[in-house]
Amino acid sequence: MRKRWYALVAVAALAALAAGTLSPASGQNPIVVGASISQTGRLAVTATYVLQAYQLWVDDVNAKGGLLGRPVTLKVYDDKSDPGTGAKLYEKLIVDDKVDLVAGPYSTPVSAAASTVNEKYKKVMVAPMAAGDALWKRGYRYLIQTLTPSSLYYIGVVDLALERGLKTIAFMSEDSEALRVATPAVADLAQKKGLKVVHNEYFPRGTTDFSAMLTRIKALGADVLVCGCYEPESVLSVRQSKELDYSPRLLFAGHGAAVPEFYKALGKDAEFVLASDHWDSRMKTPGNAEFVERFKKKYGREPNYHAAGTYGGMQAFEAGVRKAGSLDQDKIRQALGELDLATIFGRYKVSETGGQIGKTSIIVQWQGGKKEILWPGGTATAKAMLPAPPWAERR
């Protein structure tokens, strides 16, 4: 009995050894792309878009005959929305699993932790969902940004407000890396161009009751309300403004107001609300319409900017690998630094540090249940309906 057990172990060990030595020689060995995604925890809901975009990209690449003549596969772990776990998993992906390419996780904090690991092993990481300019001020080389830099998130609002002769502006922003950069950038620009900033406050993630803050902003008589916020807070800021009978002439509710769920939650109250978006399915970027089509077909839902940004980021990654012609990380990094590319997501162009400088946000407005692009002027699909009528005068 005991002997047989030993034999079994020996066979297994031999098999493992054989697998380890033989398979690289066979040319069909796939290129493994590794990533950790927040499949559980507080970021899990949005993170599924990122994962689905990764899978769609893998399908598309393989349909085109693969990368460098080899098929591509995806290896994904769950970081539980926790940066520490994320760092551990990238360590595992690189050291244990020896993946060929490293793709980013969802969310800035996890990207920050993971990038440290990649930097150590000199592995290029295209992090499609990493925002926050601080990440690219650390002297890292191997982290590539494809998302809109946060300092350019909201700046369009200032032009739109001035066009209508509005005078005062108030800010309420989620206390996060990205918005701590985005908000001061708009506030500075507003002040420079003659708008008076009457209130500027950050609230921690998870805040649900803004009534006191909005009462204060209402008392201060702000014409423009900029809510630097995401999904739940975007809805809440609008709903609670209405409840308190506060009618800003321009209500801008951040990226969170650009998702379909925003309109679904608010119905007619969403009319006239402005939002910023990284991406729109109507954008005339190359391959955009086809991407939207394929995504819908595969997953049965509309892609959002998380999906498009991830896909666009992977397009850039793919272009970098093809340009480098090998999996040598330094060659890929160099290629990624030189590329100036139009992806479905928009322009891709990075600075020396790997931070994005090519991509800008668009500003949209809900008009008749649809999002119309207002800014920048060149891509506008409709005229701004401003100032917004007071709540009391709406049907």
């Binding site: 769950d78 940066p83 520490g84 551990k88 050291v95 244990d96 440290t116 926050g132 650390r138």
Partner: protein
């Protein structure tokens, strides 16, 4: 003698791990050692002294932020910064402990939970120092070995201190407070002082570990530095292993990570529920933890042997007391 040899061997073995293990294994061991250390620290105030705290993570976060700020702004070497994190946590624990330890039972538990939430909010609001919700970025850690050694050193120090505590009159005073604080008071034990000493110990080490954590993940933000989950893991480890014992936290910590690897990794969606169920099952069926079960089977020597050893020496007994 063999005891000292055993300890030396264990330490040498633990210290030699980085020579053979890769970085992934190291990072797993770092978090194991970190949580074991936190469990030991929690064990002093909650296991020995009986003051169940749901908020020791306050000191972990304070340590993490202190170290991060020192490293970024003053370019202090990280081991010193982590030590400073522990010292500040200990310093802060003096007034906080003096206030909070006036509360007993569930009031202390909930008061500490409230304290940790306030600490998190302060980290959000104190933007000039903490950068608010943006968090602080530290330089990357290129060599995990030093981090590993630091964490293992702290964890080993905690095992050592707990072992000393378990065999000291100070430890007996803490246990007396746990068993009957009023009774201890009436026997001349300065309970306020003893509790405060235990509390400071239970704050210093999480502070140091928080500092090392900040360096290890090279990013600190309010939500992760003051996460209730951190306390939760330590609490479950101690309850499972056996509160108020020398080996309980280690047994609990190791059991928990084994469970996490072999069982829970497969059921990530019910991870929290399994934690909760473990708490309930432990309280109902294993109130004294695994350490006690091991002792009853003779796998583990009973604790607090020092009095028994002394008492075992033959001594002439006189009929009347002094």
């Amino acid at each position: 003698m063999p005891r000292a040899l055993l300890v030396g061997l264990a330490l040498a073995g633990a210290g030699a791990v980085p020579l053979v293990a890769n970085n992934y294994v190291l990072s797993v061991l770092i978090s194991l050692a970190m949580f074991t250390g936190l469990a030991y620290a929690w064990n002093i105030i909650s296991g020995y002294t009986g003051y169940l705290s749901f908020g020791q993570v306050t000191f972990f976060g304070v340590g993490a932020y202190t170290a991060a700020v020192l490293i970024i702004k003053l370019h202090v070497a990280w081991p010193l910064a982590a030590l400073a994190g522990g010292l500040l946590a200990a310093l802060l624990s003096l007034p906080l402990g003096w206030i909070m330890l006036r509360l007993r039972g569930p009031y202390f538990a909930i008061g500490m939970l409230g304290l940790s939430r306030i600490a998190e909010r302060i980290a959000f609001a104190w933007e000039p120092v903490t950068d608010g919700g943006r968090g602080l970025y530290l330089p990357p850690v290129l060599d995990l070995r030093a981090v590993y050694w630091a964490v293992v050193l702290v964890a080993a120090a905690l095992v050592g201190i707990t072992s000393l505590l378990d065999n000291s009159r100070f430890g007996l005073r803490l246990l007396a407070i746990r068993e009957d604080e009023g009774g201890a008071d009436n026997l001349g034990i300065n309970t306020t002082l003893a509790k405060l000493q235990a509390f400071v110990l239970s704050a210093f080490f999480p502070g140091v570990l928080g500092g090392i954590y900040a360096w290890h993940v090279s990013y600190v933000d309010p939500v992760t530095a003051f996460a209730t989950q951190i306390d939760l893991t330590a609490i479950v480890a101690v309850l499972l292993g056996g509160a108020g014992t020398v080996w309980g936290p280690l047994i609990g910590g190791v059991t928990l990570s084994v469970l996490a690897e072999v069982l829970w990794a497969r059921f990530p969606f019910i991870h929290t529920a399994l934690f909760g169920a473990l708490v309930i099952v432990t309280v109902l069926f294993l109130p004294k933890g695994l350490a006690d079960a091991f002792r009853q089977r003779g796998w583990l020597a009973p604790g607090r042997a020092f009095l028994r050893r002394l008492a075992a020496r033959p001594a002439p007994l006189e009929a009347a007391p002094e």
